[in-house]
Symmetry: D3
Subunit: 239 residues, 6 copies
């Protein structure tokens, strides 16, 4: 069945990364992904949470927020469970790509603020968040004033952390759902993977629907092809 | 490699359900699952959240909480992101097994309070939560005083919603991790499924580790065998 | 006038203490007191509140909470004035039985979570809280690894802190009110005393009713006989 | 033993009531009681809390607060457990003196704000709160514009609700403790009574001390003599 | 004295308005004003706050927020007094330009989120907020489906509400301070005016400095010339 | 047009300062200003906020609060934006009159609690707050036990910080609006100035009205004459 916007089942939406958009932050990127716009910034602080103090290791955490006017009706400016769930996923995903020991006693906070919401805000946040994080790492210098990047990145810069959504719409597995598809999908899943194709997080299910192992396999195939493509774009932006 | 408590890789811990433990609630069960104890209660209220009012449909929501003395060191009594994330998973899972239209304008709140935490508290909450929910449905009567149960259950009572954890420990896929295993697992995943073996939610990943599609398949095989066994136990308790 | 459950005016309900129920906590007891079930845990932390720091003394504090499904209708999980008032009473009562100077710079938090509410939850919390506290003291060791128990207990272990409710129901003083009695009592009073019969706290009154000095005397007589009996049970459990 | 300010054991401090001090409120009184100053206001609202709606009855509630500069060191402006406990006591005490059915569907909120704290702020709040409440009742008119006062007062205006503190200081029972006495008292008790000498609330105990039934009797004797005197003063102010 | 960026004392920074940036909102504009970027959105809701219900009038309110990465060091996502003060100024200013009676029972919320902060965020918020508000009014239709715009605008669209900052830097009155100037200014003032040159709000002063009436006059002259220029730009964008 | 209470356009209301009213605070004054009563207290703490630590400088901050019974209908005891805005104005104004370097590492908190509100509460708070602040400075002693007052006062004690409200009522500029005038004023402005006539803060505007430069000038003339008079009263009280 053709998709409402003419895309193939395995086709990503248009994607643009504007590196350094929020110039006060240590790293930043404005992600325009189809109709979705997310501003990702990464800020480095020279300390760590209390529970981690004195261990010589760093921390990466994330915050996710939709601006009130990013959706209709207006979203009130209060903490909600959905945002909490999403920011925990972003944080875990980004920590999978960094060596917290090599980071030293620093905390990097990655803020993902949704300016316009048209589906896929959490995967845009992870994918853009990794770019902001990598950009922020470039700003860190050791006591001799030497740049410490890319030491804390666990893998070569060529191997980013990327994320994409997949789902079952009208019975078929499709990639990168926009808002109209997301609202009607029976199953909605987010897949986070490395550029090399290893899985980082698989998170999904359905409100009031179930799915088979075969459907899960079809969704994962779509996702892993797309995260490889996204990783290439992430490397390109930072080059 | 043998497990620290002598179990096989595909073996569940000891399990006991005490139905009706909190007799003031409409439905309740005390779940003792290995060293973990969770009290699940389900309370029926004759209204729905504002956003659902007037649509003739009901709602099921969940709250998850660890008692301060359930773990060491003591857990402070404040809302945290982990609890929010878990209670959203419990709510979505339980809603997959119920016909909210047949429920009528009622809200059922399923409370899962952890009395002792030794791994698998979220899967004990979902599995026990479904029992409490089913028990509470029995207490609902229509205007003629007729029991409306089991109409809201989407499937025959013989087909519950059950959940189990799986993970990669020392390179191997294992079932139903206790706390010592959970602390050392490279990957930790929760699988929610129906008694008939359809998937409801697949949620997991690793802090600082990645996994392959083959490892995911091995974990799912273990999980689906166990949820079938759990569903049999759930039916038995309610019989 | 006979009581609705056949008890005499001076008769306690059935009582069972399960020591060590929440094994992760330093001390714990599950209290089943008639239809009421309260889980009391005591957790030791190696520091004190800021206002007490550096004085070489310890602190004991209490938290009281009713689980949502412990009563009908469901009780929302939010802090309320009644819980605040009760936990302050529990804390003051337990501090009366312990030498905070001998405790050293440690804080013991006694958590009382009500699993099922059928009257007398605050007196069950104090009586069980003292058991959990005494059990936790056994786990404290000094720098030489010697157990410091029972030094911080102000009196021999043979002299616990116990509490019981009394009230005026249908004009008569009665002991240990259950929920149906509590709802109809003109006056409701909680008496906390030592095993030796000294008063620790006397707290009570009526919503919209008054009482005479003679009625107060009758209630205190019932209470002091019962706290002596409860103290014997407390000693027995810890023996 | 003589008291530090030369009073007899059974002697109240100097007392002045300024009726109508906060003229925007329906009823108000500034209470100067020794060195303690409390402003009590009573405000009538034409509705009741949700849980009481539609029952044709009214409600009386109280709030207690210490202004930051009323004590040393400065008290931060945040809700604390002590205030919660005190305002519940004030509310219960005032409700004992009013017929909520005769009040109609109205809520009266009695606010007790401590301007200067020198001991006895809770008993000044109850005693002054009753005056503010009685004054506010005068402002209520029925649909025909007739004053409904004093119908809701359960007893003739000649029989107010008054409160006083008593304690054991240096082994002796004394009345109306000021701050220096309160800080060193072994036992501190608040007694609320009607002008006719019936008890409304008896609340007290010791931090780290115990007391005997005989000491309790001595304190109650002092208190009941004083509340009769206070009731005379309350009637006089309102005359 | 020349300004650090070469501007004349009476010269505005570069200014760009991108109308409709957040397309889900009823009205929106991205304001790039020198190095400052603010996203203003206006959302229409079909009701009014409780205190205004049933009076046939509408309401306009504003919220102001700096994104965490908009400044250095990162700004935590918590409500602060400065934001409260600023959003009240924005709301009052925008209400001065609209006929709330003609608006009908609707609430328009204007959200001003700062993406990059380089001075003048509050004046960019007011100036852009008026554009978003005007754009949102175009989306409102009456029961016959007729556009009700521009009825609620008190003045012809040709007369907007605009705002600009002025200050005393190194002894001289200057217009439109950027962050380096703002940090060193002795006096900092925000002037809100109509296109026709009437004053709406004058708000300002100094931290630890004072100023004369003559200096105030000089600042107001600069401001009123600039708000006329800004009003022309506002009209142009909406044409 | 004559004013409703017979005052001339340039006439202040009756004013009384009771120094030392709240004797536990380091400085305090009860301000009775027409029908408005505000209690101002100043408390000195021997430390500074974290962001100022170690710089050898002090801090002055203010809190503003209306007691629930100070107005009709009763004002709920919750933080609101208006209070936040006002307390920031008070804090900025008071800091303009003190040398924070000479204060040393101390924080002075000035609390302004409104007991009765009849217009002009914020200007009464600033004017009274300065008196409380000056009184508190007298209580500060250096390490040799010498009084450090008046070193931190930037100007001789003869030159206080005073504030007054002005507005446009029925087309005319008038001084010191009471509540009935304030409710009908087209423009409402607060002017803070030194005794010597320098401006500290000018803050004002209209809800739904505008004003001309000429009207602003007329208001400032009235205000500056009044603040000089107020400064004389402030000096007198402290003499």
């Amino acid at each position: 069945m053709p998709r409402h916007d003419g895309r193939r089942a395995d086709q990503l939406r248009q994607l643009r990364f504007s590196l350094g958009y929020a110039s006060a932050a240590d790293g930043s990127v404005l992600v325009e992904w189809g109709g979705t716009i997310v501003l990702c910034t990464a800020s480095v602080a020279p300390d760590v949470p209390t529970w981690l103090a004195g261990k010589g290791r760093g921390w990466v955490t994330a915050e996710y927020n939709m601006l009130p006017g990013s959706t209709r009706p207006r979203k009130a400016r209060r903490a909600d469970g959905r945002s909490t769930e999403i920011q925990r996923l972003i944080g875990r995903s980004l920590r999978a790509g960094i060596d917290l020991g090599a980071l030293g006693e620093r905390t990097i906070t990655v803020d993902c603020d949704v300016l316009r919401a048209d589906g896929g805000t959490r995967t845009a946040s992870i994918t853009g968040g990794w770019i902001a994080l990598a950009a922020a790492l470039r700003s860190i210098r050791d006591e001799q004033g030497q740049a410490v990047f890319p030491a804390p990145l666990r893998r070569p810069l060529a191997d980013p952390i990327a994320a994409v959504s997949v789902g079952i719409v009208a019975g078929d597995a499709v990639l990168d759902l926009d808002y109209p598809e997301d609202s009607t999908a029976a199953v909605d899943m987010n897949v986070v993977a490395t550029g090399a194709g290893e899985l980082v997080e698989v998170v999904g299910g359905g409100e009031g629907a179930t799915f088979t192992k075969a459907q899960l396999d079809a969704m994962l195939d779509l996702a892993l092809a797309a995260t490889a493509e996204l990783a290439a774009r992430q490397r390109e932006v930072l080059a």
